[in-house]
């Protein structure tokens, strides 16, 4: 179904400091992931697959790579006359994109001019495949004002200002703690919420007028007492990227068939920009095991437990194990790579040995030559 009564807002430009090397040349939403995707493909595809056909992408700076990736939105079916994709950089220097509330305040005209009744707001640094229709259904069932998507798990170590939720027996939020200090499993907010558009505008206006500008502290922690705020537990695969280790592990999780089946559910596919690569060529004598490989690669050596993005070349006699190698990187002959993250367009010569460890996978920056 398309053209429902929901619009989407994606924060594409946040938490960059947690993976500062990956975001040196791009914003969070443009971070490559999983062989052919960028992180923003996940929230964007989730919204489109949920029937949302108007999405605003908020970005504060360095948005060249995300603009290049999103283009007109065609790949997500968001190049439309009704609705479609809206990239929303600051209008002037005076627009304040430094926190969620002032950012939303800067796009108030966009929110006010929209006709959809509801808004889904999502960050872009969680990889998951979620059906917002189902969130909407629960929201209406509960007659809620706000529905917060949460996950029940051990708190990711470096998660920025986590909101830990408690519920009554009906799933209504009865407490919101902002803390990193929780033992064992808890219900933490995944930075995705469902709200009436008019209510969102009202809350933003209220916060701005009172100069209380922390979304979690001044909206979530305050309003659960006044409004009917419910939780929606997301039970599928998800991984939030809060460190290079998370990033590495999220890529490696794709080797598990259950994770692939959940994340790349063919009924809710993840869309991305098309590049017209030819299929991948496996050379004579190539050995590939337990790896996720995108089109356009040429593999003449050995690859195991690795993710290869589009257009990667692995030369003869080269061994690659437990690596994430981004698009168009060329590795020469007789080299040995293990536990490393290699960005786009890197050239690694012949007979090089590059080693890292699971706890500290070294990173090679975009365009570098080794």
């Amino acid at each position: 179904m398309r053209g429902n009564n929901i619009m989407g807002i994606i924060f594409a430009n946040l938490h960059e400091d947690l993976v500062s090397s990956l975001t040196d040349v791009r914003i969070m939403g443009a971070v490559p992931f999983g062989g052919k995707y960028r992180l923003i493909d996940f929230p964007l595809s989730n919204m489109v697959n949920s029937g949302i056909n108007k999405v605003g992408v908020l970005t504060k700076s360095n948005y060249q790579s995300i603009m290049d990736h999103l283009g007109t939105g065609k790949a997500w079916d968001l190049s439309r006359k009704q609705g479609g994709l809206f990239i929303l950089p600051p209008f002037t220097n005076s627009n304040d994109y430094s926190n969620r509330i002032t950012t939303l305040n800067s796009i108030l005209p966009f929110l006010q001019n929209s006709t959809q009744e509801y808004v889904v707001i999502s960050d872009c640094d969680t990889v998951c495949n979620i059906d917002f229709q189902d969130v909407c259904r629960k929201h209406l069932e509960n007659n809620a004002d706000i529905t917060l998507v949460y996950k029940r798990d051990v708190l990711p170590e470096k998660l920025h200002a986590p909101a830990v939720l408690s519920f009554d027996r009906n799933g209504k939020v009865i407490d919101v703690l902002i803390t990193n200090n929780v033992e064992g499993s808890c219900s933490f907010y995944m930075n995705m919420l469902f709200i009436k558009r008019e209510l969102l505008i009202e809350l933003v206006n209220k916060c701005v007028s009172k100069n209380t500008l922390n979304f979690k502290r001044d909206i979530l922690q305050v309003e659960y007492k006044n409004l009917s705020v419910y939780g929606y537990e997301f039970k599928g695969f998800s991984q939030v990227i809060t460190s290079m280790n998370d990033y590495f592990n999220a890529n490696m999780a794709l080797m598990e068939s259950e994770v692939r089946a959940d994340l790349f559910n063919s009924d809710h596919p993840i869309y991305t920009k098309v590049r017209d690569d030819m299929p991948t060529k496996y050379g004579l004598g190539s050995k590939v095991r337990n790896s996720l490989i995108a089109n356009g690669c040429t593999i003449e050596g050995e690859v195991e437990n690795s993710v290869l993005f589009k257009g990667v070349h692995i030369g003869k006699g080269t061994k690659v194990s437990n690596c994430v190698i981004m698009q168009d990187t060329k590795v020469g002959a007789n080299s040995s790579l293990s536990y490393i993250i290699v960005d786009k367009d890197v050239t690694i010569g012949d007979e090089k040995t590059l080693m890292g460890t699971l706890s500290y996978p070294p990173y090679y920056s975009k365009g570098s030559v080794v």
Binding site: S266, M278, T280, G283
Partner: protein
């Protein structure tokens, strides 16, 4: 009124391709999958775009659904411009009656209105059954330089094979003085590639005359070109060098796919300057599991491989399960090779399931009577039962029951 286009291309895509048997039962030959992610028509369409031709008419007739849907608005090839792009031209009903396309020349004749809109100087006639990369703009430049009325692309073929082709005999300046259709004793080895450039004023005149000729079969090769030559028009051969293959038979389709695996074959699909575009399915990257061995093969996104794949071309979303063997074969999108199945020297069409321990085709060295050996072909959306055996050179168009073991 449309802005003038110097060149309009007309792509003849109505052929049935009956020699491809089950592969063209439900779709026209140009829509047959090729090379792990393409369809044959991607090659002429991409050649057009890369040659700077923005107006392309695709003439369809036989089983057009898949082809129409595939071409769509032409966006994957950048053929969705405001005033030009790709147009699918099917036979239609006119005031004086309705007619199928009765020959290649008649098909173009019936679409003179389409060509007229662009007021072109030149028209390129192409067919949708060859795999090649060619810069038509160079051929058009040669056409202009020769001040020609018609230019025919030719390729040098081995003398022994020349009698299978239409042969163009030329003067030293490249002008054609004689056509020989499949000559028993060829005088030269310049085989026509079925690619023609015409000056449109001449083409238009001859198409109208040909249509009025009761004795004509309305075919370019048999009627229009010989008449032009007879009338003394300036006709030139344009020598093409590079990879060119007719994929009109099972054997040639199989060979041409296998050519992509041969580093010595000059058909580079990785060349950034001459990309072959196609409609891309929305699928995740391919996954090669712990138990897989993959060598010398071409594998597309969306595949999941746990068995052994050797010298093969696998299209998107193919699943090769543990213990299955795929050798020297082509597996089209969405097909599943179950555990223990062995597929050798075969073409498996789309969305077919090859059951557990089934045996499809065989290696030539295992067959004593070489006449009985050939590529086995399995049609689309079929189920080949567990343990079933499909002999080489067979063509399967219906489900096959399993065999109790």
């Amino acid at each position: 009124m449309y802005p003038k286009q110097e060149v309009v291309a007309m792509l003849l895509a109505g052929g049935q391709g009956s020699r491809l048997g089950v592969l063209t039962q439900k779709l026209a030959k140009p829509a047959v999958p090729f090379g792990g992610k393409y369809r044959i028509i991607d090659f002429p369409l991409s050649n057009c775009v890369n040659s700077g031709i923005d107006a392309v008419g695709v003439l369809t007739q036989y089983q057009p659904l898949v082809l129409n849907e595939y071409i769509g608005n032409g966006q994957p090839w950048d053929l969705d411009s405001n005033n030009s792009g790709v147009s699918v031209l099917s036979p239609y009903q006119q005031v004086k009656g309705a007619d199928w396309y009765s020959g290649t020349a008649n098909a173009i004749y019936q679409n003179i209105n389409y060509i007229d809109r662009y007021n072109p100087d030149y028209v390129v006639i192409l067919s949708g059954d060859h795999i090649y990369k060619m810069d038509y703009s160079k051929m058009i430049a040669a056409h202009k330089e020769n001040n020609a009325d018609c230019t025919i692309a030719v390729i040098d073929v081995p003398l022994a094979e020349a009698s299978r082709f239409g042969i163009m005999n030329t003067n030293p300046d490249g002008s054609i003085y004689e056509f020989e259709e499949k000559p028993a004793k060829p005088k030269s080895t310049n085989a026509s590639m079925g690619i023609y450039v015409f000056s449109y004023d001449k083409l238009r005149k001859y198409l109208i005359e040909d249509e009025e000729d009761q004795n004509s079969t309305h075919d370019f090769g048999k009627d229009v070109l010989p008449k032009m030559l007879n009338d003394g028009l300036r006709m030139f051969a344009y020598q093409f060098q590079g990879y060119w293959k007719d994929v009109g038979t099972i054997d040639s389709l199989w060979e041409s796919n296998m050519d992509l695996l041969d580093p010595n074959v000059p058909l580079d699909l990785t060349d950034e300057s001459w990309k072959i575009y196609s409609r891309n399915p929305v699928v995740p990257p391919q996954y090669i599991s712990d138990s897989a061995t993959v060598q010398n093969s071409l594998i597309a996104d969306g595949c999941s491989i746990s068995g052994s794949v050797d010298f093969s071309v696998l299209f998107s979303n193919v699943v090769v399960k543990k213990g299955a063997v795929v050798q020297d074969s082509i597996i089209m999108p969405g097909s599943v090779i179950e555990e223990g199945a062995v597929v050798q020297y075969a073409i498996v069409s789309e969305n077919t399931v090859i059951g557990k321990n089934a045996v499809i085709g065989a290696r030539p060295e295992t067959i004593e009577d070489k006449d009985k050996w050939g590529i086995a072909v399995i049609g689309d959306n079929l189920k080949i039962g567990d343990g079933a055996k499909i002999a080489p050179k067979t063509m399967v168009s219906e489900n096959v029951e399993g065999v109790d073991e």
